[in-house]
Symmetry: C2
Subunit: 209 residues, 2 copies
């Protein structure tokens, strides 16, 4: 279970400000999550998410003292790039990153809740599809939606997926899910806080790719 | 027509050694070729090809005097990474890059030769499919092959494609194709020379992604 537990998200402070450095540390382990999905198809998603993280990190490192929280970055970019904002810089990268994070959250939550296709209990397609429909579908044009449906065929078996989450250790499904649930506490709170911030700052866009 | 003509490949010397710097200069304009394909779907391919170029450039810049030709790089990596070679470094990046370059070559050649679907003369699907089958298909597993068939639906109209090749200038199809033919002379020779080098050095792999 180390992949998840090694990289716990921290509990949010009462004002829900997300510390940029700690957030970047935590999400930087996410791209390797996609390696456990097996086929190379997912390397494309891995590098998209990785690109988001690098973009945010690039901005942060220019002035760590100024960009203590993620909101500091988004607000500074709103000042600096009034014309293009929010389709610019780390604001855009975080807009997309949060959708990938939400996708992962819903997928894990659905597994933790025991949602499954009774006819194919070892497939995770219902869980992946739920995550896709809630987190990403509306931002994808019909071509990318069709590509998603093809890629879905490459989704790993549940047993392999849980094993990979546990870094290859054989753990009982129920033990793994206990750890997933515990991981989800701060993770979900962090993702929620980013969504809230985008709503509050009017930084959300709904164009499709 | 400037996208192509601005970035002519140079004529190869008699020994067919490909000058690394001139090659990198010429191919560095290729990724923007994919912008003219319109939908964001192709940004994925653009960044794959761009990654290949950056990988090769990274090696080259470590010692430009040592890596004058592409073959110098591939041979040096064969020495340095005997165990993993050729699935390593710039050797791997160039292995894949040459396939993308071949894809483009066959696509342009097919257009220049006037190959078309008589029922849909303004579509380029027959040309794209020919290029795919000859350059890439055998290196793709069935999932990626299926994704290709979906992505094909996003291929631009011939008129838009030729216009984009001409950087948005309205040119007559025949004028554009004259320029394409002229571009293809040194371009094809360069791509052929890279393939020959991979054969001669036994550097080619045929695993699928
Ligand atoms: C030769 C064969 C031909 C093949 C042609 C194939 C083309 C295939 C294209 C498939 C799409 C792959 C997924 C990537 C989609 C991306 O296009 C989107 C938007 O991506 C964003 O775009 C922005 C500009 O609009 C900025 O560039 C962002 O970058 S910025 O940092 O620069 O600001 C960038 O992330 N990201 C997304 O939709 C996010 C995707 C998250 C995925 C979450 C997991 C899903 C798991 C599914 C499991 C079944
Ligand atoms: C949320 C939605 C879910 C979606 C999930 C979607 C996933 C979509 C995946 C689609 C595949 C996109 C194309 C990319 C394919 C790439 O996987 C391959 C191999 O890529 C190589 O792999 C190596 C390791 O094996 C190294 O990493 C190379 O990198 S290295 O530099 O590090 O060594 C890398 O280029 N390149 C290729 O096949 C080359 C492709 C060239 C394309 C030429 C033009 C085609 C135009 C088609 C027009 C119709």
């Amino acid at each position: 279970m180390s992949l998840l537990l090694d990289n716990q998200f921290i509990e949010l402070p009462p004002d829900k400000a997300i510390n940029t450095k700690l957030f970047l540390d935590a999400v930087s382990h996410i791209p390797s999550f996609f390696d456990c999905l097996g086929p190379n198809v997912f390397s494309v998603i891995k590098s998209d998410i990785n690109g988001n993280i690098m973009k945010i990190k690039g901005v942060y490192l220019k002035d760590p003292a100024k960009y203590v929280s993620l909101q500091d970055i988004v607000e500074a970019e709103r000042e600096a790039h009034a014309a293009e904002w929010p389709k610019v810089g780390a604001t855009l990268a975080l807009m997309w990153l949060k959708r990938g994070l939400r996708f992962i959250q819903i997928l894990l939550q659905s597994l933790a809740d025991g949602e499954r296709d009774e006819n194919n209990p070892n497939l995770i397609r219902v869980n992946v599809t739920k995550a896709y429909e809630q987190a990403l579908k509306k931002y994808h044009g019909w071509i990318v939606q069709k590509i998603f449906h093809v890629a879905l065929l490459a989704a790993p078996y549940k047993s392999n997926f849980l094993k990979a989450l546990s870094k290859g250790e054989e753990v009982k499904e129920e033990d793994c899910l206990i750890n997933v649930r515990q991981f989800l506490v701060n993770y979900t709170a962090t993702v929620d806080a980013i969504y809230e911030m985008y709503t509050n700052l009017n930084a959300e866009l709904d164009y499709t790719v």
